[in-house]
């Protein structure tokens, strides 16, 4: 009973007497400091590891911070010079931003479409086949980004890979005659296949779970009203799984905007081929290959702001659902 005897004190000076009185024990627990004590380790860790570095990256982004500053431990504030240079760089507008935004949009759309189609298909299967397919999809989900990327690089190896060999055998293209990784469009087509392959299982499994929560009476009512399969999908399924779709779109948008590993590990993706750089790789290579930590930080800030804007837009639509 030690907790019960210590909580009234906290309850008294916490939220006051406005709350409804139902179960006394629970009420006392619901007020005091208990939740904050439980939250403290998590919040402190997140503050130290996420919020403080965010402050630090903002601070670095307004400095010309290089290796020598790192060694000497001094600072070198230059105001908004980094941002001015980056935002006036045609490389940002012509290469990096299209690579980041265009790629993310294509990936999100394809991932959602494939994921939803697979989920609807799985939902129509019997238990046995559904669990077999779900397990197979789980394998696709589980394959780590690192190894998955290498498998795709190997599949598309210009000289010995399966795709080049198959095209060679069909007489379409001689193996080794064209290095697709050197071409921006081919590079991103392969990256898209890789990211969609890796991302669709999450959507499929989550949407499948969501489909199970739509009351079947709604479908029956719609069918009685003469709704065909397509309009049932539009008027019953989509509204029924809207909150889940919103979560799926938010998460895959965020994931696809900050894709790093899948690009970095492809041939030329680590910054050696500037045509295929995205924001993440650009920031990384400016910092760790060029030693321009300030400039790299400014790019990182821009990426974060981009994500923040998207997140806020989506969060607002999610909050309307009152799901939290």
């Amino acid at each position: 009973m030690s907790a019960a005897t210590s909580t009234p004190k906290n309850a008294a000076n916490a939220t006051g007497t406005l709350e409804r009185r139902r179960v006394p024990v629970r009420r006392r627990l619901q007020r005091g400091s208990a939740p904050w004590l439980l939250l403290a380790p998590g919040l402190v860790t997140l503050a130290v590891l996420l919020l403080w570095p965010l402050v630090r990256v903002l601070n670095l982004s307004i400095q010309d911070y290089r290796l020598r500053n790192l060694i000497r431990g001094d600072s070198n504030y230059t105001g908004l010079t980094n941002y001015r240079e980056i935002l006036s760089d045609p490389f940002l507008w012509g290469t990096v931003l299209p690579n980041t935004v265009g790629f993310a949009i294509v990936c999100v759309v394809l991932t959602m479409v494939v994921g939803i189609v697979v989920a609807l298909f799985l939902n129509s299967l019997g238990t046995w086949w559904r669990s077999i397919c779900t397990t197979a999809i789980m394998v696709a989900w589980a394959v780590p980004a690192i190894t998955g990327t290498y498998v795709f690089v190997w599949l598309f190896d210009p000289l010995n890979g399966l795709v080049a060999s198959t095209l060679d055998q069909l007489g379409i293209m001689e193996a080794g005659s064209w290095n697709w990784f050197a071409n921006r469009w081919a590079f991103y087509a392969i990256a898209t296949a890789n990211v969609v392959y890796h991302g669709f299982p999450f959507i499929a499994v989550t949407v499948l779970a969501g489909l199970g929560t739509v009351p079947k009476e709604l479908y029956e009512a719609a069918a009685l009203d003469g709704a065909g399969p397509l309009s049932r999908f539009r008027s019953v399924t989509i509204p029924g799984i809207r909150p889940i779709l919103a979560v799926c779109i938010i998460l895959s948008t965020i994931w696809d905007f900050k894709v790093f590993t899948q690009i970095y590990l492809m041939p030329g993706g680590n910054g050696t081929n500037r045509d295929v750089m995205n924001l993440g790789v650009w920031s990384y290579s400016e910092s760790f290959a060029q030693g321009l930590y300030g400039r790299g930080s400014a790019i990182a800030v821009l990426l974060t702001l981009l994500l923040l804007v998207i997140s806020v837009i989506y969060m607002r639509s999610l909050m309307k659902e009152d799901e939290l």
């Binding site: 007020r31 998590g42 996420l50 190997w154 060679d168 998460l251 900050k258």
Partner: protein, 308 residues
Amino acid sequence: MSTAPADRTAPAGPVGPAPTAAERTAQRAAIRRRSPRRIVTAAGKAVGVVLVLVFSLFPFYWMLSTAVDPNPLGRGASWLPTGFTLKNFRFVLVDAGFLDYVKNSAIVALGTVLISGAIALLAAVAVARFRFRLRTQVLILVLLVQMVPLEALVIPLFLQARNLHLLNSMLGLIIVYLAFSLPFAIWNLRGFVAAVPKELEEAAYVDGANWLRMFRSILFPLVAPGLVATSVFSFITAWNEFIFALTFMQDSSKYTVGVGLRSFFTQNTANWGAVMAASTIIALPVVIFFVLVQRNLASGLTQGAVKG
């Protein structure tokens, strides 16, 4: 209409070779809703199943079959390996010292799992069980921090770790990985905690248990499956992480598996047999873990998404 689907869909028929038809029909009758079913013929479904299986499994199959191929570069367009050998695995584990990287990764991943599991469980209980001021704000914060891009933090965290002499250290990597496994772990566990009936907790209080006692005897055992699923996810996050491992671990004896994998590439060529053997070693535990906890994880995700 309400009884029709079960009858109507039974003849929708066998998809591929069935174990026993009667058993399957019984299982199918147990499924309640199946509206898209009528428009999809049995043949279409069979094709669909094959497509899903091939699309999902082919890259994995290609990795495995290259790993056991004695001559992967001479394989050409053949879907089958040219032979069977384990020499790629022997080369990777014995000659190339990949086992050390596996050990490093395992230590880092287990450290992350234990610490983030403990912290996340406490936080999940707080947001799922207590109604307090700023609760919604805390939840939004947990969601928002998942949106912070890794790349944005690698520079400040690298500089910080360098100052604290945590580069080339397992502990440094474990601490950093907490940032990436915690928000998801809290979010996910919250669904599992919320699913435990409050009445059980109240019964414990009525029996005179204090909060700690109730936590130990009621909540923790019931949330344990969710904790396992969350731990697996944290393990996978840490095991798969690349960018921080690449930046922090500059001494090759401290490489994790992801960074160590790069050592099989030379300037322009790759030893694909070795790369795929090492990839198999990385991917296999993850795939097995993942498939084992799939149901828990999926239900946790949706609960996290739709329940409060």
